[in-house]
């Protein structure tokens, strides 16, 4: 019997929402960790019962949780994230040097093959790794050791490493993205990294074509084509077909190419989804209508998906880690809003319904496909 488990992180706790393969009736579990900000919760592809969660508050900082039974019970694991060596400085908002300071874990990426191996993307931007199921963490210092590190500058949300993509065909290769430094790739298991921002153009930085400084909001990959990546940048939707060596714009007919989320259909590598947001000064949908846009041609040609979504007086946002897909057929698509709704489509985006409403603002949505 197939089913799905939706892991929802919010400003005030985590929720675990489940359904069978029909994805018509939903059971909402939680809140777990009530009152805590849950930036990200993600399950291991190698063991779906193993789930990692990032838990934080402004008062008590970062803690980490792990479940070994599919989210029924949790145990605290290590929360000590210490930068390797002398941390040095990055740029502050005013351009002055600012010491690297750990603030929180934004994103967790479990290994595709080893349930005890998990990567953490943190603010101030760095990548950490645990090889013992979260019981200890060590920085992979090659990333911050990239020569551009001292020039990285935070976006409005902080200098956060928010995206980690693992290449299913090449365990030595991974991709990460940082707001507002850009995208980086390693081909040697994280020892060294290269900036992969050629083709990005950002009018809000002094040199629009700079090597680093681009505010990448999210990158997505289809596991069958790991050299093809799709990017929602601050403005512009982009794609690369050579693992980031060169990006091209695919915003096409989108009503706004600002947004945060982007994801790829589980079975159609050229079908992608975004949620256009009006602008970076108005973080809500265009015309107050919540519309997912789908391209079935790998970009440029987009169609609005509105069936079941509010088409008036809707002023929510959809944050960067808040969209996910399942692997059932038809593919399910999910996203959460800052208004506390989690919407799901069990037909690839043709129709939508809220599987839960009135949660705290949603920070992240991940889906596990269970069999």
């Amino acid at each position: 019997m197939s089913g799905v488990r939706v892991l929802v992180g919010t400003r005030k706790g985590a929720f675990v929402i489940t359904s069978d393969g029909t994805r018509k009736r939903w059971d909402v579990g939680g809140p777990h960790f009530g009152g805590w900000e849950m930036y990200h919760i993600k399950g291991s592809p190698a063991d779906p019962n193993r789930i990692y969660a990032s838990q934080s508050t402004s008062w008590f900082g970062q803690t980490m949780q792990r479940s070994d039974d599919g989210g029924k019970s949790w145990q605290p694991v290590a929360n000590k994230f210490v930068y390797d060596g002398v941390p040095g400085t990055h740029q502050w908002y005013d351009g002055t040097p600012h010491p690297w300071e750990f603030k929180r874990v934004w994103h967790l990426e479990p290994s595709l093959t080893d349930p005890d191996l998990v990567y953490a993307g943190v603010e101030d931007a760095a990548i950490f790794r645990s090889t013992d199921a979260g019981m200890s963490w060590a920085e992979m210092p090659g990333l911050r050791g990239h020569g551009s590190g001292p020039r990285w500058q935070p976006g409005a949300g902080g200098l956060c490493l928010h995206t980690i993509l693992l290449d299913p065909n090449n365990p030595q290769r991974m991709f990460i993205a940082i707001s507002a430094a850009g995208a980086f790739r390693t081909d040697d298991g994280g020892e060294t990294w290269q900036a992969i921002n050629q083709g990005l153009r950002s009018q809000y930085i002094p040199d629009p074509n700079a090597e680093v400084g681009h505010c990448v909001h999210r990158i997505a990959m289809h596991r069958s084509r790991p050299d093809t990546l799709f990017m929602q940048k601050h403005w512009d939707v982009m794609r690369t077909d050579n693992a980031g060596d060169r990006w091209t714009e695919i915003s096409g007919n989108l009503p706004s190419d600002f947004g945060f989320v982007i994801d790829v259909h589980a079975h159609e590598p050229e079908t992608i989804y975004v949620v256009p947001i009006k602008s970076d000064s108005e973080h809500y949908p265009v015309d107050g209508a919540l519309r997912v846009y789908r391209s079935r041609t790998g970009g440029n040609e987009w169609e609005p998906l509105t069936n079941g979504l509010p088409q008036q007086n809707c002023y929510v946002n959809v944050l960067r880690d808040s969209m996910s897909v399942d692997r059932l057929d038809p593919c399910g698509v999910y996203f959460g809003t800052t208004g506390g709704q989690v919407y799901a489509s069990n037909d690839g985006g043709d129709s939508w319904s809220a599987i839960v409403r009135d949660l705290p603002p949603v920070l992240s949505v991940e889906v596990q496909t269970l069999s």
Binding site: G35, W36, S58, W59, F60, T63, P76, N79, K80, V82
Partner: protein, 98 residues
Amino acid sequence: MIRVVLPPHLKVLAHVQNEVVLDVDGPPTIASILDAVEGQYPMLAGTIRDHVTHKRRPFVRFFACEEDLSHVSADTIVPAAVVAGKEPFLIIGALAGG
């Protein structure tokens, strides 16, 4: 034996319902009390003070015997009534909101 009251979020994290009672090694200072808290409840390490610098987190306060001990040296001996177990050492999440 020193009594320590944790803020609600940290009680949940440490799986305790009420105040905790601790044996403190050496002089009963703020630092040694926090050492004992973290020794008995390792999941609280880093939530009250920084892992490395041991600097108090900005939104955490320490009270005892109607005194604010948040800004004194961590090597300060806590009041005699706390040492005697008559009064608790309070770890507080600073008020915030509006």
